[in-house]
Symmetry: D2
Subunit: 379 residues, 4 copies
Amino acid sequence: MTASPVRLVAEDAPDQPRPTTELTELYRGFEQELLVPLWTEIGDLMPAHPQSKAAPHLWRWDSLLPLARRAGELVPVGRGGERRAIALANPSLGGRPFASPTLWAAIQYLLPGEDAPEHRHTQHAFRFVVEGEGVWTVVGRDPVAMRRGDFLPQAGWNWHAHHNATSEPMAWIDGLDIPFQYATEAQFFEFGRDEVSEAERITPERSRSERLWGHPGLRPVGAEPSPAGTPLLAYRWEHTDRALTEQLELEAEGFAGVVEPGHAAVQFSHPGTGGDVLPTLRTQMHRVRRGAETAPRREVGSSVYQVFDGSGTVTIDGHTWTVGRGDLFVVPSWQSLSIRSEAGHTDSDSGALDLFRFSDAPVFEALHADRVQVEGISR
Amino acid sequence: MTASPVRLVAEDAPDQPRPTTELTELYRGFEQELLVPLWTEIGDLMPAHPQSKAAPHLWRWDSLLPLARRAGELVPVGRGGERRAIALANPSLGGRPFASPTLWAAIQYLLPGEDAPEHRHTQHAFRFVVEGEGVWTVVGRDPVAMRRGDFLPQAGWNWHAHHNATSEPMAWIDGLDIPFQYATEAQFFEFGRDEVSEAERITPERSRSERLWGHPGLRPVGAEPSPAGTPLLAYRWEHTDRALTEQLELEAEGFAGVVEPGHAAVQFSHPGTGGDVLPTLRTQMHRVRRGAETAPRREVGSSVYQVFDGSGTVTIDGHTWTVGRGDLFVVPSWQSLSIRSEAGHTDSDSGALDLFRFSDAPVFEALHADRVQVEGISR
Amino acid sequence: MTASPVRLVAEDAPDQPRPTTELTELYRGFEQELLVPLWTEIGDLMPAHPQSKAAPHLWRWDSLLPLARRAGELVPVGRGGERRAIALANPSLGGRPFASPTLWAAIQYLLPGEDAPEHRHTQHAFRFVVEGEGVWTVVGRDPVAMRRGDFLPQAGWNWHAHHNATSEPMAWIDGLDIPFQYATEAQFFEFGRDEVSEAERITPERSRSERLWGHPGLRPVGAEPSPAGTPLLAYRWEHTDRALTEQLELEAEGFAGVVEPGHAAVQFSHPGTGGDVLPTLRTQMHRVRRGAETAPRREVGSSVYQVFDGSGTVTIDGHTWTVGRGDLFVVPSWQSLSIRSEAGHTDSDSGALDLFRFSDAPVFEALHADRVQVEGISR
Amino acid sequence: MTASPVRLVAEDAPDQPRPTTELTELYRGFEQELLVPLWTEIGDLMPAHPQSKAAPHLWRWDSLLPLARRAGELVPVGRGGERRAIALANPSLGGRPFASPTLWAAIQYLLPGEDAPEHRHTQHAFRFVVEGEGVWTVVGRDPVAMRRGDFLPQAGWNWHAHHNATSEPMAWIDGLDIPFQYATEAQFFEFGRDEVSEAERITPERSRSERLWGHPGLRPVGAEPSPAGTPLLAYRWEHTDRALTEQLELEAEGFAGVVEPGHAAVQFSHPGTGGDVLPTLRTQMHRVRRGAETAPRREVGSSVYQVFDGSGTVTIDGHTWTVGRGDLFVVPSWQSLSIRSEAGHTDSDSGALDLFRFSDAPVFEALHADRVQVEGISR
């Protein structure tokens, strides 16, 4: 997957014609005319199944957070750099800030009293809070609180800024489709106002978007949302937690609802369409009951997970890691993932392992390219 | 619009050919061969705009409820009759139990300890509770509580029964698309079990459907709902009330959200699609602030409203009625409706007029036949 | 199904409460308050499966055509009556000009040199030509020729007129959703110009719509059609005939394509969506090979067929008719239909039985209410 | 865009914090933990508008064809290499065989009597024939002829092979979404039979797919196509040519239909959905009247064009090339394109410039990311 500016034809690929002077001359002709034959490349380009350029990898929260704090001391936030965000760089993607070929994940850090200036971009984004509180994201002039467990989607092309209204620094996770839009070249970006106005420095418990759209099964008759992104700007932990709890209770009572035994999951959804909150990103919260293990599962497309609570082990295509709160890991396309919830050093109330997940699944579903394989059973 | 078995051609229609012996003979030939010319019928069949066969009409709750109670004394509930339901019969629809040409609305009444036997049908249905509580609707063996302000949709072809688990009788409103399916002839019906099993006589606060689907913006990953009807079986008053309250608060703060000044409204929606809860029925709750008045509005299709709280006046194509809690009225297709909230004899807390509404709008939207006219402005 | 203005409760319905003085008084109370109980009506309103109010019936072309000709002599065409169209009146629908509860079918007749004035309406319409030629339908100022075998859809709210440019009278069939829109009350109508302009009296072989949209699998990049009706205004017999011929040839060669053995069929489709040409009407041409017989089939919704060529027998819920060119028959909802192609007095080239069909199927599909049963197998 | 395995942070990016020992240490910490800050990368990742990694470029048919012929002499076709296809390698994409970041375009060459073995893959593909004939593509055992001007789409996961049934070699163009699926990692591939069976060596004028699906506005009732790719396997030049001719005739008569003055275009479409023939590729044929020039136009996403006939000049973001038959050029995302038809050394009958085009537009439309700018007017 190296991409040198000058590239010789891979004559050592399998099933190649016997190298001769004439063939070498032909290949030189190809290069001169900016041509590359299929037969030397087909193994790389058209594999039997996805062979991800990315590697599975785990980033420890205990390593990320101190670096983010140190960046808080050394790096100002302002116009130009825009955000004090530090991205996961998959070890197999050439040092680029890409968690996977399509997904961006970063830790963002904001000091007491700091603002991150307003801008907008076509890249779809979200925030997820694994700990702390005190920052408000102002979206289209609507201030949205951020607290542990909250999920804040941010559809492309909405103006947004952040400000820390408290006396404590705060860190959280940003997810975007930056690598996907980078690969497909669909990005637009605009600077907004340099500072959040006084009127937007209010710190309401609930955003206007939640007051309008955050009621179960109810939509405002007077508002027509865009299908391109959810109008609901915050999904609160109390609701997510309750939904997961109730799925496991239903299972215990003998009723349907969980994904598989001991494994509850909810998907954040657009209340106007029922679909994904963002056109390119699927976002979910999973809970694995203590002692339970999920069936190994492969999917077309990649995912990033962050452990929200509890501890356990994750196995990705044969590699196993123990994980705890805040740890992030990436699952490349078509690599199998299994998750096991275990009693660990972190003593959580529920004893369950809670994981936030985001993936590029909506891209593949929109293009009829989705495939899933669970324990050898294709769907 | 009378439909006599033998029907003479309307020779007094406008723009008709001069009656002659030959013409009379021709018309007799038509009748013999079961033919009817367009030119005598076109005014009735193809009007400049919808001329409803139905009339606007108001039914008083104070008149309905005593009759329902009396039916409770005289008419048993059981297999065959199926339900102790008494339907609104539009005065212009020939005595048929049709509130409008497409909509059925009835008051249903169940005594303490009574069961209404299980059945299923393709007609889509819902319950709405204007007062009282104590009945559970059992849908696919999931018992769903019914209390004041609750809305319970019931998509076609789901098994369902009712039982009154308390020592008080209870009345509520049923809405169905019976006339629409009667006109288009798409009805199927099956009897289920004669009695609700002991296991289903439990009376949980929250149904399994709510535990799985009743969380704002969250859908269970392990369940795939049918697009043909909502998987959420109850929409509770506390959520509806809060959503309406918050819309009016947003308006007072200067933000968007209400339908028009002083007029908040929410639509009950399918959490898996964002669309209507039922394929043929749109259901909404409206709140008109005391003193406010809605702009006169015409729509293709008919609606039935029930006053949930407060009092005021409604004006339908020039007819004005004062209305109070429980009163039901029908708005025929393309007749203009305006609603005014007023301080009345009923002293409601909020001072607002709350109205439940259902209509056949999804039919017209699915067929690209919807039209709305507000104060002379077509959309 | 009679609809008298005053209607007594049907006390002779099955499973009724025992008649007593009190019950009679209760029922009188219902009538006074414009109420009707469900328990006396449920058998009619909620049958086990659709029990059509319509009857299966056959109209002979040999009877229709002379009456249309006679109307040509006696009844002028012009503003007010609008069209010299004579509609099929189902014998069980009370003398109304309705072939079925949702479908209108009429023979229309235009003399040499005559115009039918321009108008538009929300009712969706089409023309189908069983014999003759010489009339042009002018749709939005685009003149469209009509010849034997041609199908001309006419989506609602398009301006249209007809003119006979030849020295021969011409008859054809009109199909519309008049009864459906009459029942649901969604109709709008406007008069257009009284006469077709000279510029529109041209008689091109191909309409502009065909030049833009009539190429297989090709859509014009510069035009965006409405999803609410096909932009292609004529489907020519040469294409329909060839498609049917090729299906039967593929069958003879052992390949897939026919509906069932000996039974080819094509559906007229919207080139911009692939769906039905009209939101409420499905239109198809069927060809049954001589000697073949279709499997008995029930569908939710009704159909009207016209024999285009050949002869045979049709069996509808036990009634059998022999049919030949031009004959029209109606199949009510959920009644079973089987068609047999036979050598008859009409000696057709192909020896096959060709039938044009239209139905209300898109309504039921849009509302998730479609059902089909073939030889006892439900789909 | 270079992707070295080890990558230092770009400290020379604009708006960076002042380099200090502490900052250098922080950045070293980032690298150790596989992290990359946003603030050094944002200019590259989130530009104001798409800044394509690709360059506009032109490949001359006169250079491609001799190299393909020479490959025919030196390189066998068979299992492993699969196809004698030679791909355009954009000069700015590091020597990879990618015409743009999402599109693959190659010349394929098959000698008399040769077979290209059967396989299938999730990559969507098509063939377009600029000259010659004699090869049949066998798709799911259905042999499809290839002749000048024909377009043959090939939805992913269909078995397909080629065989040259004549005594002449043949070249054509393959288009695929290989780079897109490579970037997003969704590829599956399977080998089929090594040789085409005798039964498939027939060389019919029309494929079975055309006999079933190639009739304008008609779909077979007995077949249900996948929405993921067109069931029509060939779009013949005679239809494409006629459609373009008629658009320009309509323009000359004063009617709508062309894209802009002097510019006709048709889009190859899925007859079952009206949408694109392939989920990820849009394919069109354009005709620019001699002397006409298209308005400069930018689009999100990239395109490859091949001149089919005529000659002219193309201008891409300020670069101008004269072009003639067979020449291929690529237009990167958001670069403006204008095409001018000119009388050239190639004397074409029509005097028009005909261009085949394919692009990745369906990807962006499916994800709500499409944008177009024509002469400064955004849509």
